[in-house]
């Protein structure tokens, strides 16, 4: 394992490294990361979150990004980023390599979300996943009234060229977590303005009112591994603000 390097002196010159300029969901994710953590940001884009975490929280940050221009920009700004994708490149990492693995607004674009989710909680002690909620009322209403595939700020592509091939609702997501034995430690629902709400992700409101959800997940460590762990037996999620 790589030991943490002295990071206090590090100054990262990324395009966006100021918290005020971070996307709403990224700012919330950043708040969930403890200082000095080993963080892997999958789909790190231009490195905004990584740069922020490195500068403000002294994390030992790594990134994976699909677009070559994104990777080159990140590395050019002193971030440790590789070109790759969530479907193909997570298997290489050892279990528990990171304290936190972040997958923001990327799950819906993966080929095999279930495998990706399993990989996330394997290589990270915790995973933070954010995704657009297809159960959002405007999405539902748009489809109901207009009869057209929904498009929004979060889902800006027409159906024929969208990279988002595996969209899901918050309920779908929680059901998958249950199915593969992933514990939801915390969840936040974001409305259209990016305001966070602590809504029970298993309730109807979150699924209706959240434009996107952010989930903190934890896999079962080898010690407590039990394939048949009943999902229903999990403790209720503490509300978060």
């Amino acid at each position: 394992m790589t030991a943490a390097l002295p990071l206090d002196r590090v100054e990262v010159r990324a395009a966006v490294a100021d918290g005020d300029e971070l996307r709403h969901d990224l700012r919330l994710i950043a708040e969930m990361v403890e200082p000095g953590a080993r963080v892997l940001d999958i789909g790190c884009g231009d490195g905004a979150l990584l740069a922020y975490l490195t500068r403000r929280k002294g994390v030992d940050g790594r990134g994976i990004e699909l677009s070559q221009s994104g990777v080159n920009a990140c590395v050019g700004h002193g971030l440790s980023v590789i070109q790759g994708d969530a479907d193909r490149d997570l298997d290489a990492y050892p279990a528990g390599a990171f304290d936190i693995v972040v997958l923001s607004q990327t799950l819906q674009a993966t080929r095999e979300p279930r495998r990706v989710m399993e990989a996330l909680v394997r290589i990270g002690r915790r995973a933070i996943v954010s995704f657009p909620n297809f159960g959002f009322w405007r999405t539902r209403l748009g489809l109901l009234l207009r009869g057209r595939m929904p498009m929004s700020e979060l889902l800006p592509h027409p159906w024929y060229e969208t990279p988002n091939i595996h969209l899901c609702t918050i309920h779908d997501f929680v059901a998958l977590c249950d199915e593969i034995g992933v514990a939801v430690e915390r969840s936040v629902a974001l409305d259209r303005q990016g305001r966070p709400y602590a809504l029970d992700p298993r309730g109807g409101l979150a699924n209706l009112l959240a434009e996107q959800g952010i989930f903190v997940l934890r896999g079962q460590s080898a010690g407590e591994m039990s394939r048949s762990a009943p999902a229903a037996g999990r403790p209720k999620l503490p509300p978060q603000g």
Partner: protein, 387 residues
């Protein structure tokens, strides 16, 4: 008419500029021989800081040498990495202390097969021990120790230089703060060994090679070496680059001549590459260095596990490949990155889009420069290096 013309040129290698280190304590080579004393010829640029923490070792490729940023003493051409090295450059001589040494087995001042074997007072020729990339790195380690440097800020190089970078990172991880292997692989592929074998056979088929004893006999296998270079040179380019540069254009004529002159520009170009190469390179050196590359297989040193080669590493890696490089394709770099990820190493990986093929690492590639500058600056901040 259809063959290549050569200039006669005598090699007098001992008045070439630069530093020389005589290593007296013999080096145990992979082949089992204790080799020495021997000489390492090297160049330095910039100044070593008081902490001795700003040294960058530049590793050269197969036909490169220590003159990374000086005019070549034989050809007079600019240094092979002059685009990167300089005050304010990517390899900033105001900030870093750069070292570049001719590899063991080379022909620009470091001991190689063209030098005199003290036992026989004849040139070594084929009695020179077969050396490996690991041996080259062992020799460099002696030089770095001689310079009083415990830990290199960075080891950087392309192609065979990249192999040395990987060997450094695997063999002396505590001495490598950061590593930049460019356009390289953790092992030489079958295809690459095949091309090297073509080159070696071309040299050996030249009657002037004389079983390797050409120097003692006052001869020079220029034709064989030129053909080896021509073959290799094609592998350094890409189909797209060749097409863009030459297409099917004819050389100083309007029609084909129905003969074997260099009708096409691409032929003329390759012949030129071949004939100028023999002025500056020794044929036996070419045999030995290509062999060292062929033998390179980092995983083999670690029970077949590449990840094991890097287990526990704390070095920061920046792996770089080029889209049109078919000699060391991106897939090789990706394999390396996966092995590094498997041990949770700190690794960046950039594939640069270019038509320039394998040779891209020697050329003006703005994106390469930007990547290197960003990576090195980030590392320098982690290392606490100030300007």
């Amino acid at each position: 008419m259809s063959t290549i013309a050569f200039r006669r040129r005598s090699r007098s290698d001992h008045d070439w500029p630069g530093h020389r280190l005589t290593v007296r304590d013999p080096l145990r080579l992979d082949c089992g021989i204790d080799f020495g004393p021997f000489t390492i010829a090297y160049q330095t640029y910039g100044r070593l800081n008081a902490d001795r923490s700003n040294a960058i070792l530049i590793c050269h490729a197969l036909t490169g040498d220590q003159y990374a940023a000086d005019p070549h003493p034989i050809t007079g051409k600019p240094g092979w990495w002059e685009t990167l090295v300089g005050a304010g450059g990517v390899l900033d001589t105001e900030r870093y202390f750069l070292i570049c040494a001719n590899v063991l087995g080379g022909c620009m001042g470091t001991t190689g097969p063209q030098d005199i074997d003290p036992a026989t007072s004849e040139p070594w020729a084929l009695s020179f021990p077969v050396i490996t990339v690991h041996d080259m790195v062992r020799a460099q380690k002696r030089l770095v120790e001689h310079l009083g440097i415990d830990s290199l800020f960075c080891v950087i190089g392309g192609s065979m230089g990249g192999m040395q970078v990987l060997q450094w990172a695997a063999s002396y991880p505590e001495s490598v703060f950061s590593a930049v292997p460019i356009a390289t692989a953790a092992r030489h592929s079958a295809q690459n060994i095949a091309f090297h074998e073509v080159g070696r056979q071309a040299i050996m088929a030249d009657p002037d090679w004389c079983g390797g004893r050409y120097l003692s006999l006052g001869r020079k296998p220029s034709r064989g070496l030129a053909v080896a270079r021509m073959t290799a040179h094609v592998t350094y380019l890409s189909e797209a680059a060749l097409h863009r540069k030459f297409g099917r254009n004819l050389q100083d004529r309007h029609a084909v001549t129905y003969g074997f002159d260099a009708d096409f520009q691409v032929e003329s170009y390759l012949r030129h590459q071949g004939s100028t190469f023999v002025d500056r390179f020794d044929a036996n050196s070419y045999l030995y260095i290509t062999r060292a590359m062929d033998y390179f297989d980092l995983a083999a040193e670690h029970d077949g596990s590449l990840r094991q080669a890097f287990a526990g590493t704390r070095s920061r890696f920046c792996v770089i490949s080029f889209t049109s490089d078919w000699l060391f394709p991106t897939s090789e770099s990706r394999q390396l990155v996966r092995a590094l990820n498997a041990v949770a190493a700190n690794v960046s990986f950039v594939e640069i889009a270019t038509e320039n093929g394998h040779d891209a690492f020697l050329l003006h590639e703005p994106e390469l420069f930007e990547t290197l500058r960003g990576f090195l600056t980030g590392c320098a901040e982690h290392r606490g290096l100030t300007r």
